[in-house]
Symmetry: C2
Subunit: 204 residues, 2 copies
Amino acid sequence: MRVLIADDHDLLRDTLVMFLEVEGKMETAVAGTFQDAFTRIENDERFDLILLDFNMPGMNGLEGLRKAIAMCGGQRVALISGEATRQIAENALEAGAAGFVPKSLPAKSLVNAFKFMAMREQYAPIDFMTAVEEVPGNALADKLTPRELQVLRGLTEGKSNKEIARDLDITEPTIKLHVKTLYREVSAANRTQAALIALEAGLF
Amino acid sequence: MRVLIADDHDLLRDTLVMFLEVEGKMETAVAGTFQDAFTRIENDERFDLILLDFNMPGMNGLEGLRKAIAMCGGQRVALISGEATRQIAENALEAGAAGFVPKSLPAKSLVNAFKFMAMREQYAPIDFMTAVEEVPGNALADKLTPRELQVLRGLTEGKSNKEIARDLDITEPTIKLHVKTLYREVSAANRTQAALIALEAGLF
DNA sequence: TATGACCCTATCCTTTCGGATAGGATAAGG
DNA sequence: CCTTATCCTATCCGAAAGGATAGGGTCATA
């Protein structure tokens, strides 16, 4: 089984390669940037699994994932990340990724996940996908109406009510109302706190 | 040589442990949260090196580092991180850390760095420490006076001018002055943006 | 001793926020 | 049909925030 690992953290890459070769009897190839990975995919023979880091240089989030999936017809492409949210994982799976692997996964599970994905199954750790969903404090997005979420996004961008009003093409008084009710719903005392809380919760 | 590795990414921890034991002939112990690490330090025998992840649960940035250094008298405590900025690394070293290890370091170098730190030397990768320095936008903390930094911290906590004034035991007009000048220095249009910029830059 | 950097206080004024309240329109569901 | 939820508009008012300016104090350094 042949695996390509693309991650800008040499430390993880080096140790992971060693682990996969010893424990999983896998052949490995590595890349440190998206461009690296890209050229390897173009030139080398086929891989049973391609692992792309979400935060690596050139990756540009899900854009890189989509590009990779599109260009290496049929080869399995999975996402790996230490920081990504459940939302991102879901989007990746929707985009046709072979799976999502958080770095909080034990190394042994990783080997199993790899084999699973190479068999053309879609993988994502259940606890990761469900955990965040049912935490009440983090169901933040569900407590807000679509409109309030749009307003909240504006707050997280440091915009004034007037600016948000212009962006959403509604009047400022309306924005103020949404802002006010939104404060209650996320337990914020002012717009800065609301922005911080939203970011903390992984929204946007 | 005995090493404690505290990181919430099982994947890195597992593979790193294996690597260190095989390549570096080191004994390892692990922890997944700051609390875990804390109890291990309290109960276990002494370590030649303790490695703390900057982003792990309970760590709270540099606060956890300081706590660890203070409580395990004489033992070497180093910081590891995949995302931290040069600024954070510098602060860590100033706080008395044995060193700073970015996850972009090759695994082989890591073994050497560990041995180096265990010999009571202070370690930080030169390229990492110099590279970011010449980016003008990231010298953020250096552009602000100590007082302005205190005020900025208040902003990142979503506090009002009045609250900040009470905290720092100075009058509100003074806070407003610092806030205003601070905006110019970090290129913010309002307090929310200032808070976001500060957090983005890795301050606090 | 003089200059400059930093910190503090203060006043004035305008804009923005944030809260309270009172409506109206629409769509979904009992 | 009525209720409820959501989104919209609007006005009023007090409290913050933000900008401009004018001081005074300390301390290090030239």
